[in-house]
Structure formats: structure tokens, C-alpha cells
């Protein structure tokens, strides 16, 4: 491997950092072990470090390094197993190995290559040493060593002799130039800089009001420094989206191979920078969406040819900044989404009634895909179809204030558009006035400023059936008046008309304002929840004079004024309407729980109302259950769901009032304080609620009533979710390996395959993870500290609930662990650490065949 592909550079960088860290620890440990040659733990640690370096070199294809470390490892394993005594020459040899390793790493860092020095002499000496009969370790060993290189004893005995050589190896830039800083600190810096920017703006304002040369000079300086500081701090938090995208070619390739498809991946805008936290948050959704496109979108080559397309499908990722937001598009030229099938699936799942299905528009139907538990896959594979997907994608994106949109044309493909706002950003904006108020328009949306002067200025804006338009260089530009959009008093008819030309999405419009001031750097601050619903504002900022100004949302203004079509919005409103549609014109059960006086549940979801004596309540699986009609009915206290953390009722009523909810063959009992009434009313949900467990509030029987979000109530019932393998539960895998780097590699593979991964770096951590949650399988390297992975195996065999969890051993390329031997040792299977495909196949087999049924988490309802 002579050159490293760009996407691997990141991996190499990580490898370098980890290796340097390991090597400096090794130096200390070797010095330490010279004093205590019998310290087994220390020896084991040294062995592991060398072993880790060797393993990752092998994976990255650094053969020289692998050879050196492999020989050193052999020697160390003999030491560890007591076949050989540790003596100074041996330590020197190992130290020499460490130095050689450092040199090679420096060369990799500098040139990406291992360099011309193959260290054959050292490798040979290490090999010879390892081959020596263990029975005569000292004398002969030393002799041969001395024969091979006369310098050796000197190397160890006199430190100054080693100095020149060491200094020849330039201390690593990678390790020295990077320090790890907590994100919390960066956030804090960012906040402080935001404050500084505002203060700077205020100072600049003072400066313009005063004629003081000294103040002028100082404030200019302050201005410059602040700008640079701001830029620097912003940069510390920004990362290119390539951080997420780099792993996608591999995902696509693997998917294509396993599905027998041909897929070309095109990435546009990989250098688009995003805030660190945003990058983190979109990682999983991106992988999900790309896998979806590969799996469901792009057809098999022969199907594509029949449809008149090229056999090779195309998947395009695009990222760009627009209007203070980052837009990400994932589009494929596949089959598109079959809307009829979506509806059918939704009906099968009981999400949709046939009557509603008929009324649903295509767009609304498409949005069904975002509902929890919805899966289009015909069968559950290890690739997709586990019913976790688009709803998770949506909730992830919405959590960071983003929006997901889906567009699909049958036969032509599917496009998912994600918009993520940059709430943290400091952006340039144009300050305008309208109706006596100041507003800021983000500079990115701004195309040009137009000023119409003279008597005829108003006339230059013409009207078509009352709709104002402006002739701009021969084409008509729709025009809106900001005063009208915001319901402000229009200024007395001015002599001149100021208009800003704005761009939203791919359309343009003119916005007439009273006055145009200047451009400024502004800090975007979010609006309080009371104002979140106003689509015309993107946020607020603090101006130089300390007053607050609102930032206009150009898209929202365009839509509100009607110059941009609202199709977008309507569709979304319709979706919201639909999700809440279940409580319209329905019979409602009214009840009371905790401090919620009046709660409503659609009666159609209620199976029965029951009373259970306190004595009938039993505890199982960490929750309350009751025996009910020969079944075990999980109970969930509505009070606990709505008011988590509130004190328990001192004297719970006896009997308990329970509402039994049914959905298909699943049931759950919801404990309420009191059942009030059944109402039949036309309901409009007036206000959505952010509170957990509530959909929103509306008026029922002339009183304000809160509507329960049964999904959340149901999710609170642990046993329901577990028993039926509900939403969001995947197979959970423990990755146990001493090297964080290896764990990262393995984890990446497992994450992509949709497993939930927990990690452990040593035996203690592994046991803790096993205790913390039910696991479907364990994937382990062979050298789990402190005493190897066998210790974990025996620990697991000792516990009845752990002994059936399959353990997959992962070996390095050079370790000669064969599957039969691994089986004998108690592993279920054995794979190479760096053959991810084989690992995933093996794991899929193990986790499905060997997992005990109690934690089988494949959801029901996927059989078809």
C-alpha cells in the first residue's frame, strides 16, 4: 500500500495519534519493568500495546512496521508466558523496536509512506532472539546479540549515546500539535465570543457618535481582533460534512455487493462546513438514508435495464449553505416510492383506516413513511426493514431544529431534503426598517437592492389582478410589502421606494421596505418557545445599541405574502393535521391523572375500562403487571408518564382505575386517577404541546382538554416494547477490545449494519456492560485486559443469563487462531478483526440463531 486514499487519511491520523500515545507509555513501562522484571501485569500491558500497534499496521498495510512489531510481539509473548527471562539486552532490543517504530511513524506522518529503511537488521535480530532455545536464555542470547550488533549494550547502558539517534527522529507534529479540548469549553468560548461581538458592535456605534481619534484607533483595533477571534473560535467547532460522508462510499459499496446492485455514489459539497454538534447529529440519519436509497430505492441492474435506465444506479449527495441553513440532499434515480404500497402497509399496520387512505393525497401518503414503526421492507434483513428508520431520521433531524422532506416520483427516483439551521452562527445581515421597527435579513438570501425614485416610483410596481409585480431587466418579479406581511402601519407614502430582492429556495421575489440601513455581523439567537410558531422570523439578534431586532425568515416571508407557493407548507400542515386527525370528530374518553384535570383519549383505541384491586398487581420485568383474561397485561401509570419525578400518591386508590388500550394483539393497561366521562364533540386541537405524553390541547365540551399522546404512553411501558420488539430496539452488541482504535473500526462496521453497539476496553467494563443491559452478542479481541478474553468467557459461562450470549472472537491477521480452536476455547466463531464483511455475516448468524428468545428483538408484524 504505497499511497493512502484520501478518506483513509483520517484513519491514518487517528492511528498515528493513538500509536504515539502508546509508544510514550511504552517507554515508561519499559523503564519501569527494568526495575521490576517479574511484574506480570506490566508485561501484559507492554505486550498488548505492541500487539495493538501491530494489528492496526497490518490493517493499514504498513508491512515494515508490522514485521518489526510482529517479531517484538513474539518475543514479548514468550516473556509473558514465562518461557524467557527478562534481561537488559532484551529490554534494549525492545526499546530499539520502539524507536524504530517511531521513525517509521514519523515517516508515515511526513510522507504517507513507511520510508526506505526496512529495519531488516533489527527484524532479523528480533527473530533470532525469539528463536533461541528458551532454556538458555541469558548467555547465548547476549552473545548472538553482541555478535549481531556491538552497539547494543551501549545503547542501554549509556543514555547519552542514544540521544543523538532520538533527536534524529523529529518529535511528532501530530501528537504535539493536537490537544484534546472538551466541547463544553468550546461552547463556552463560542458564547463569550458572541457576547464580545455584540459589545464590539456597541463600541463601534459609540465611535461613530464621537470624534475622538484615540477611541477611533482603539475601536478599529478591537474590531479587527474580535473578527479574527470570532472566526478562529467558529473554526474550532466547524468540521466539513466529509467527516460523515467519508464512510458512505464504503457503506454503498458493501450494500451494492450484498444486494447485487450497481451503485455509483456522487458527492457534491463535501467541504461544506457544519458545526460539530450538527455533524454528530446527522451522522446516523445520513447513513440510514443512504442505506434506504441503496436498499429500497435503486433497483437491480436487470430491472433498471427493463425500465430503460442504465444498469448502474446513481446516488447523489449534495450539501450547501443556504440562508443560514445547511441543505443536504440525498437523491437516487431508483424506482421511487410506491404510494399504493405505502398506504397498504399503513393499513396493515393499523395506522390508517381504509376510508382515510382514500382521502389521503399522495404527498400525505408519502409522509406516512415518517411514522414510527413503519417499514416498507418485504422482509427483515440485516440491512433494513427492522421498522426503525425514517421516524428515527426525522426525530434526529428535528431535534437539532431541522426539517426533513421527501420527494418521490415513481420510476424516477426519490430525493430526501434535509435542512439544518445554523443556530450558533454569526452571520452577516442587512438591517432594514419597516413600520418603525428594525429587522435583519440574512445576507445569503439577498440578491440586490433596488431604489425607485421620483414621482413614478410607485407606478413602476405594476399590478396583475391586484398582485404587485416589478419589471426587472425584462422579467417579472413578484413583489411583497413587508409592512403588509407583518401587519405594520405603512409609512407615509415616501418619495422613493426601497426594495430588496431576495432568494428563497430557487425562487426570487422583491420585498418593499421603508428603509435600508447597513450590513452587520449578527449573532443569531433563537426565539423563545412562545414565538417558535412564527414562520416569518428566523431568530433575533442584539443590535449595536443594545436593542433586540428580529431576523426575517425569507422563505417564511415569501410564503406568508403569497409570492412563493405554499405547497410546501400546506403539505406539512396536512400531515400534522392527519397525525392529529385521529382525535377529530371522535368519541373521546375523558379522564384525570396527576395534576391534569382533563385528559382525552380517542375511544376507538380503548378496549375496556377495568378496575383492579391493589392486591392483584404483580411485579415482573421491572414493571407492574396484572393477570387479565389469561394474559399478562403490562400496566403503566399515566401519572408517572406525564409527571415524571412527581412523588407517588401516598394512598393509591383501591381499586385502581385502568384503561385497557388495544392495538392489534398488543395491550397495555393505563392507570388513571379517575375516569370522568365520554364525550362526543368536534374537536380542533388548538395548540400543539411539547410536553411529554401530550399531543396538544383543545376544547371538548367547552372545557380545555389535553390530548394524550398514546404512543408515548405506550413506550413508557417497558414490557410492551420489549415483549413485542417495538420501535427503536435493535440488536445490541458488546465490542470488547483493548484498543480504542480497533473498537472504533469494529463499531463503525456494526453501526452501519444497524446494530446498537456498546464498548468495553477491559474485563471490568465488559462485565458492567453485560450487567447494564441485555446483549445479543459479544464481539471480542483475544487480548482483553487484564488476563485475556478467556477470562470474560469464563465469567459469562458462570452466569445463567449470560452463558447463552454468543461470543465472536476477532483475531489479527497474523494470529493463527483457527475456528475449531476458538470453538474449543468457548467462542462461537472466530473471524479476522479487519474483515468486516465476514464479521457481519458471522454476527448476523450468531445473533439470530443463538440469541435467547427472551431478547429476540425482531419486531412482530414484519413476517410478510
Amino acid at each position: 500500500m504505497e499511497s493512502v486514499p484520501i478518506q483513509d487519511q483520517e484513519i491514518v491520523g487517528e492511528f498515528l495519534v493513538e500509536s504515539y500515545e502508546n509508544l510514550s507509555r511504552l517507554d515508561q513501562e519499559l523503564v519501569e519493568i527494568e526495575k521490576h522484571p517479574k511484574d506480570a501485569a506490566l508485561l501484559a500491558s507492554i505486550f498488548r500495546t505492541i500487539h495493538t500497534v501491530k494489528g492496526t499496521c497490518g490493517f493499514l498495510g504498513y508491512s515494515t512496521l508490522e514485521k518489526i512489531t510482529h517479531q517484538a510481539e513474539t518475543l514479548l509473548s514468550q516473556l509473558r508466558d514465562g518461557q524467557r527471562e527478562l534481561n537488559p539486552p532484551l529490554i534494549s532490543l525492545i526499546l530499539e523496536t520502539v524507536d524504530a517504530t517511531r521513525k517509521v511513524l514519523a515517516s508515515i506522518e511526513a510522507s504517507g509512506k513507511e520510508g526506505p529503511d526496512l529495519f531488516q537488521d533489527l527484524t532479523e535480530r528480533l527473530r533470532l532472539k525469539a528463536q533461541l532455545p528458551a532454556t538458555s536464555p541469558d548467555r547465548s542470547g547476549q552473545d548472538i546479540l553482541l555478535g549481531a550488533t556491538a552497539q547494543l549494550p551501549k545503547l542501554l547502558a549509556t543514555a547519552p549515546d542514544r540521544k543523538p539517534e532520538e533527536s534524529a527522529v523529529k518529535s511528532s507534529a501530530v501528537a504535539d500539535a493536537n490537544i484534546r479540548v472538551g466541547v463544553g469549553l468550546l461552547d463556552q468560548l463560542m458564547d463569550l465570543v458572541s457576547e464580545l461581538v455584540l459589545t464590539r458592535n456597541q463600541i463601534l456605534q459609540f465611535n461613530t457618535e464621537r470624534e475622538d481619534p484615540a477611541l477611533n484607533a482603539t475601536s478599529q483595533q478591537l474590531n479587527l481582533i474580535t473578527s479574527e477571534l470570532q472566526e478562529g473560535v467558529m473554526k474550532t467547532r466547524m468540521q466539513p460534512i466529509a467527516m460523515v460522508w467519508n464512510q458512505l462510499p464504503r457503506v454503498v459499496r458493501d450494500m451494492a455487493v450484498s444486494l447485487g446492485k450497481q451503485i455509483e455514489l456522487e458527492m457534491d459539497g463535501a467541504d461544506t462546513e457544519l458545526d460539530r454538534t450538527v455533524i454528530e447529529a446527522i451522522k446516523d440519519p445520513m447513513v440510514h438514508l443512504v442505506r434506504n436509497s441503496c436498499d429500497h430505492g435503486i433497483e437491480l441492474p436487470d430491472v433498471r435495464v427493463l425500465a430503460g435506465k442504465s444498469p448502474q444506479g446513481k446516488l447523489t449527495l449534495r450539501a450547501l449553505h443556504e440562508g443560514g441553513q445547511v441543505n443536504i440532499e440525498i437523491s437516487d434515480d431508483g424506482a421511487g416510492i410506491d404510494i399504493a404500497r405505502v398506504k397498504q402497509k399503513a393499513m396493515e399496520r393499523g395506522i390508517l383506516t381504509p376510508e382515510r387512505a382514500e382521502k389521503l393525497s399522495d404527498r400525505e401518503a408519502l409522509n406516512l413513511i415518517f411514522l414510527p414503526g413503519f417499514s416498507m421492507a418485504k422482509a427483515v434483513t440485516n440491512l433494513s426493514g427492522r421498522g426503525v428508520g425514517m421516524d428515527v431520521v426525522k426525530s434526529h433531524i428535528e431535534k437539532i431544529g431541522g426539517v426533513v422532506d421527501l420527494f418521490s416520483r415513481p420510476g424516477e427516483g426519490t430525493t430526501v431534503k434535509i435542512k439544518i439551521p445554523l443556530t450558533l452562527a454569526i452571520i452577516p445581515g442587512l438591517v432594514i426598517t419597516s413600520g418603525g421597527e428594525r429587522f435583519v435579513i440574512p445576507q445569503v438570501s439577498l440578491l440586490e437592492l433596488i431604489r425607485l425614485e421620483g414621482d413614478s416610483s410607485e407606478k413602476r410596481i405594476e399590478h396583475i389582478q391586484g398582485t404587485p409585480v416589478y419589471r426587472r431587466r425584462g422579467s417579472l418579479l413578484p413583489v411583497a410589502y413587508l409592512n403588509q406581511v407583518l401587519g405594520l402601519k405603512s409609512a407615509a407614502s415616501a418619495e422613493a421606494v426601497s426594495m430588496v430582492v431576495l432568494q428563497a429556495e430557487d425562487r426570487q421575489f422583491g420585498l418593499v421596505v421603508d428603509g435600508i440601513n447597513d450590513t452587520q455581523e449578527i449573532v443569531v439567537k433563537p426565539l423563545g418557545k412562545q414565538l417558535k410558531g412564527l414562520s416569518v422570523y428566523a431568530g433575533a439578534t442584539i443590535m449595536g445599541d443594545g436593542r433586540v431586532a428580529l431576523i426575517l425568515d425569507v422563505l417564511g416571508i415569501g410564503q406568508r405574502s403569497g409570492v412563493l407557493s405554499e405547497s410546501h407548507h400546506e403539505a406539512r400542515a396536512a400531515t400534522e393535521h392527519r397525525t392529529q386527525g385521529g382525535i377529530e370528530q371522535q368519541r373521546l374518553l375523558l379522564l384525570r391523572a396527576g395534576s391534569f384535570e382533563r385528559l382525552a383519549v380517542p375511544l376507538s383505541l380503548v378496549a375496556r375500562l377495568e378496575e383492579f384491586a391493589q392486591s392483584a398487581i404483580e411485579h415482573a420485568g421491572g414493571g407492574q403487571v396484572v393477570q387479565y383474561r389469561n394474559r399478562i397485561l403490562p400496566l403503566v401509570s399515566l401519572r408517572a408518564v406525564l409527571e415524571p419525578g412527581a412523588p407517588e400518591q401516598d394512598t393509591a386508590p383501591d381499586p385502581l382505575q385502568v384503561v385497557v388500550l388495544n392495538d392489534g394483539d398488543r395491550s397495555v393497561g393505563m392507570i388513571v386517577d379517575q375516569i370522568l366521562d365520554i364525550a362526543e364533540d368536534v374537536v380542533t386541537v388548538r395548540q400543539k404541546s411539547n410536553r411529554k405524553g401530550l399531543l396538544g390541547s383543545g376544547v371538548v365540551g367547552k372545557r380545555v382538554t389535553d390530548f394524550l399522546d398514546l404512543n408515548q404512553v405506550i413506550q413508557a411501558s417497558e414490557s410492551w416494547v420489549q415483549g413485542t420488539g417495538g420501535i427503536g430496539s435493535d440488536k445490541r452488541i458488546l465490542v470488547a477490545d483493548s484498543s480504542a482504535f480497533s473498537r472504533g473500526l469494529i463499531r463503525a462496521g456494526l453501526d452501519m449494519a444497524g446494530y446498537q453497539v456498546v464498548e468495553a476496553g477491559n474485563l471490568d467494563e465488559a462485565i458492567r456492560q453485560l450487567e447494564k443491559q441485555p446483549l445479543n452478542a459479544v464481539v471480542a479481541g483475544l487480548d482483553l485486559p487484564p488476563n485475556g478474553t478467556i477470562a470474560l468467557l469464563s465469567a459469562m459461562h458462570g452466569r445463567s443469563d449470560w452463558k447463552d450470549i454468543p461470543v465472536l472472537a476477532l483475531t489479527d491477521s497474523s494470529e493463527q487462531m483457527q475456528t475449531p480452536a476458538a470453538r474449543k476455547a468457548g467462542f462461537q466463531d472466530c473471524q479476522s478483526k479487519f474483515d468486516q464483511v465476514a464479521m457481519l455475516e458471522s454476527l448476523a448468524r450468531l445473533a439470530s440463531v443463538l440469541a435467547p428468545p427472551a431478547i429476540e428483538l425482531v419486531p412482530v408484524g414484519e413476517e410478510n
Binding site: 426565539l527 412562545q530 412523588p647 388548538r686 395548540q687 396538544g696
Partner: protein, 159 residues
């Protein structure tokens, strides 16, 4: 009803508490001092066109942008006399800080837990939604304002 009020009582009367008190029209309110971030004279307020009527506007609280809610309008009371400038009580809630515009600030009072009672049934429904209960002080009644609900415009809007 009985069960709920009993529980509310047990929650709120565990110990005597301190209340920051204020007036809105002739109503005497209290907010737990622990929920009050600060009390300010009226600030420069930026109006928010198209916002719900109860939103007076936005204020700059040392770099933090806080929404100011007019308590008169929130309680559907007649507007303040033109020459009376309101006071800001900045309260902390789960969703960040919010400011309540009130007529006048009163003292910080220690109240006796035993004097607590749930809000009377016949209270004006607009107010009742936002009141957690009443302390019977010697000379007047102190209404405990539910700040979370007062700042949550979803509450009581349908009335």
C-alpha cells in the same frame, strides 16, 4: 377532585417558602423566589409583529433575548393606565427564561405552609388556569402563579 388537591397540597406545603410578590390589577400574586432570576424596571422592548397579543415583545437581558409576556393581557384584564410603566419579573422555566410584565412589585414574603389552600372553584377561569393555589395571609390572599403555565401560551388560549 379531592385526591388531586390533596396531592398538590402535600407537594407545596412541605416547608414554608419565600415568595416574590407582585400586583397585576388588584390581584396579589406570588412566585417562588427560587424561580425568579431578577426583577427589572421596564426595558426597551422590541415588538414582535404577528406574535400572540399577550407577547409584549423581546428584551435584551445582558445578551440573552427574553420574551416578555404582559400579565394583564395574559389574565384577560383591562389594560394598564397609560402612565403606569410595568415592571419585569424574569423567571426561570424549563424552557429558558421568560419575563412577566406586572404592575408593581411587592415584598418578598415568608408564608406559612399551613395557610395554603387550592384555588377556589369559582375563580375566574382565565386566572384559575395559571394559579396553583392560594395562601391565606393575614390581610389578603396571595395567589401562587404557575410560571410554567403563564409562559406557556398553549394554556388557557382556547377560553
Amino acid at each position: 377532585m379531592v385526591a388531586t388537591t390533596a396531592i398538590l397540597k402535600s407537594q407545596t406545603t412541605q416547608a414554608g417558602r419565600q415568595f416574590c410578590t407582585f400586583f397585576v390589577a388588584d390581584l396579589f400574586f406570588g412566585v417562588d423566589v427560587l424561580h425568579v432570576q431578577e426583577v427589572l424596571r421596564v426595558q426597551q422592548i422590541t415588538r414582535v409583529p404577528q406574535a400572540p397579543a399577550v407577547v409584549e415583545g423581546l428584551i435584551n437581558l445582558r445578551g440573552q433575548i427574553v420574551t416578555a409576556i404582559d400579565m394583564r393581557r395574559r389574565l384577560q384584564l383591562p389594560p394598564r393606565d397609560g402612565d403606569r410603566t410595568p415592571m419585569n419579573i424574569v423567571v426561570r422555566t424549563e424552557d429558558g427564561a421568560g419575563s412577566l410584565l406586572v404592575d408593581e412589585i411587592g415584598d418578598v414574603l415568608d408564608v406559612d405552609a399551613a395557610s395554603w389552600e387550592p384555588s377556589p372553584e369559582n375563580l375566574d377561569p382565565n386566572a384559575r388556569e395559571l394559579i396553583r393555589g392560594v395562601y391565606k395571609l393575614k390581610d389578603r390572599l396571595l395567589l401562587v402563579l404557575d410560571t410554567e403555565r403563564a409562559l406557556d401560551l398553549a394554556v388557557g388560549r382556547a377560553q
